[in-house]
C-alpha cells in the first residue's frame, strides 16, 4: 500500500499536485460538464496519481507521466458516466459563465473542445496545455505522423470554431 509504506512521499506528492492542479482542473472541466462530476474526476485522478506515484522512476518526464495517468483515468471515468447517464446535461454555468473579455473567450474555447470526439478532445487538451508533438505521441501512444496530421487539423478547426463563435457572439456583448 503506497499510503502506509511510504509516508515520506506525501510532500513530493503535494508539490506534484500543486504544480499541476490548474492543468488537471482544466482537463476535468473539458471532460465533465457537471460540477460534481468534475470534482469526482479530479479526486479519481488524484487517487490514481497517489497510487502510481511510488512506481514513478523518472523514465518519462513528470509532466508526461502525469498526463498519461490523468487521461487514462478521465477517458475511463467519462465512459463510465456516459453509461450511467443517458441524457446530456447542461453546462454548469456557475463555474464557467460566459462573461466578458477573456472569460467569454475561454468559455467559447471550452465549448469547442467539449464538442470534439474523445480522441480529438484528448489531443486538443494536450496541445492547449502546450505539450510538444513528441510528448503527445509519448502520452497517447499514437503514431508520430498521425499525431502531426491530426494536430494540424485540430489547430485549424479550433481556431475556426473559436473565431466563428466570437463573431456570432460579438453583437450580444
Amino acid at each position: 500500500m503506497a499510503s502506509d509504506r511510504q509516508p515520506d512521499l506525501e510532500p513530493e506528492f503535494s508539490r506534484l499536485l500543486e504544480n499541476h492542479a490548474p492543468a488537471l482542473r482544466r482537463l476535468c472541466v473539458a471532460y465533465m460538464e457537471d460540477a460534481s462530476d468534475r470534482q469526482d474526476l479530479f479526486q479519481e485522478i488524484a487517487i490514481a496519481l497517489w497510487t502510481a506515484w511510488p512506481g514513478f522512476r523518472g523514465q518519462a518526464s513528470e509532466r508526461t507521466w502525469l498526463y498519461r495517468v490523468a487521461h487514462n483515468v478521465a477517458l475511463t471515468y467519462a465512459a463510465k458516466r456516459r453509461r450511467q447517464r443517458s441524457s446530456e446535461e447542461a453546462l454548469d454555468e456557475t463555474l464557467h459563465s460566459p462573461a466578458t473579455g477573456d472569460n467569454h473567450r475561454r468559455f467559447a474555447l471550452l465549448e469547442s473542445v467539449q464538442r470534439l470526439g474523445p480522441v480529438d478532445r484528448q489531443l486538443a487538451l494536450l496541445y492547449l496545455e502546450g505539450l510538444s508533438a513528441r510528448e503527445i505521441e509519448e502520452i497517447t501512444g499514437m503514431a508520430a505522423n498521425n499525431v502531426g496530421v491530426r494536430l494540424n487539423r485540430l489547430r485549424q478547426k479550433l481556431a475556426a470554431a473559436f473565431r466563428a463563435k466570437e463573431v456570432r457572439d460579438e453583437p450580444a456583448r
Binding site: 498519461r68 502520452i139 497517447t140
Partner: protein, 201 residues
C-alpha cells in the same frame, strides 16, 4: 486577420489562463481526502475479497470434515466432497481474478486501453467459469439432500425433482452470466472504437 500560428498561440494562452477554480480546494485538503478515499477503496477491495474467501475457504474445511465424517454413507460423503472441491476451485478462481485486477495506470493511453481490453476478456472468462463451480456446489448440496428427498418421495420423483432444480439453477446462472458478458462486450466495443479512432489519420 491573424496568422494561424498566432491564433494557435492565442488559444493556448487563453486556455492556460483559466486557473480551473484553483482556490476551490487547498492541495493539503485534497491530499488528505485522497489518502482517506484511497484507504476506503482498499478496504472495500479487501472486504470484497475476504467475503469470497470467507465463503469459500472457511466452508471448504467444514464440508471437507463433513465428507470425511460421513464417508460411510455414500450420498453424504460424495455430496460434501463435491462441495469441497467446488469451494476450493472458487477460492483459487477468485484469487487469480483478484491478481488480474491490479494493473499499472501510467501506460500510454493506447497501451492502457489495450490492457483494459485484455482485462475485460479475462473477466468474461471468469464469469463464464464461475457458473460451473456454482453449479458443482449446488449439485453437491443436492446429492447431500437426496436421502431426505427419497424419505418423502419415490426414488424416481426425487431424482426428477432434483434434476429439474439443477436445470433451473443452470438457466438462472446462464442468464446472469449472459447479462454480465453483454455489459463487458459493450465496453470492449467502446474501447475498440476508441483505439480504431486513434489509428485513423
Amino acid at each position: 486577420m491573424s496568422r494561424p500560428d498566432e491564433s494557435s498561440d492565442e488559444l493556448q494562452r487563453i486556455w492556460q489562463e483559466d486557473r480551473g477554480n484553483a482556490a476551490e480546494q487547498e492541495t493539503s485538503m485534497i491530499v488528505q481526502l485522497v489518502r482517506e478515499k484511497h484507504r476506503s477503496f482498499q478496504d472495500l477491495v479487501r472486504a470484497e475479497s475476504s467475503t469470497a474467501y470467507v465463503l469459500s475457504l472457511s466452508f471448504a474445511p467444514l464440508t471437507g470434515l463433513a465428507a470425511w465424517k460421513a464417508h460411510p454413507w455414500l450420498p453424504f460423503g460424495l455430496g460434501y466432497l463435491i462441495m469441497t472441491a467446488a469451494l476450493v476451485a472458487a477460492a483459487i478462481a477468485v484469487w487469480l481474478n483478484q491478481r488480474a485486477i491490479a494493473r499499472p495506470i501510467d501506460l500510454s493511453v493506447r497501451q492502457y486501453h489495450q490492457q483494459l481490453l485484455r482485462l475485460y476478456e479475462k473477466r468474461i472468462r471468469f464469469f463464464a467459469s464461475s457458473q460451473y463451480w456454482y453449479l458443482a456446489l449446488f449439485f453437491g448440496c443436492e446429492v447431500v439432500l437426496y436421502p431426505l428427498a427419497v424419505h418423502f418421495l419415490p426414488k424416481v420423483w426425487s431424482i426428477v425433482l432434483l434434476g429439474v432444480l439443477l436445470v433451473l439453477c443452470a438457466i438462472a446462472f446462464q442468464r446472469s452470466e449472459s447479462a454480465q458478458e453483454a455489459r463487458l462486450r459493450q465496453r470492449q466495443d467502446e474501447l475498440r472504437s476508441l483505439l480504431e479512432e486513434m489509428d485513423r489519420p
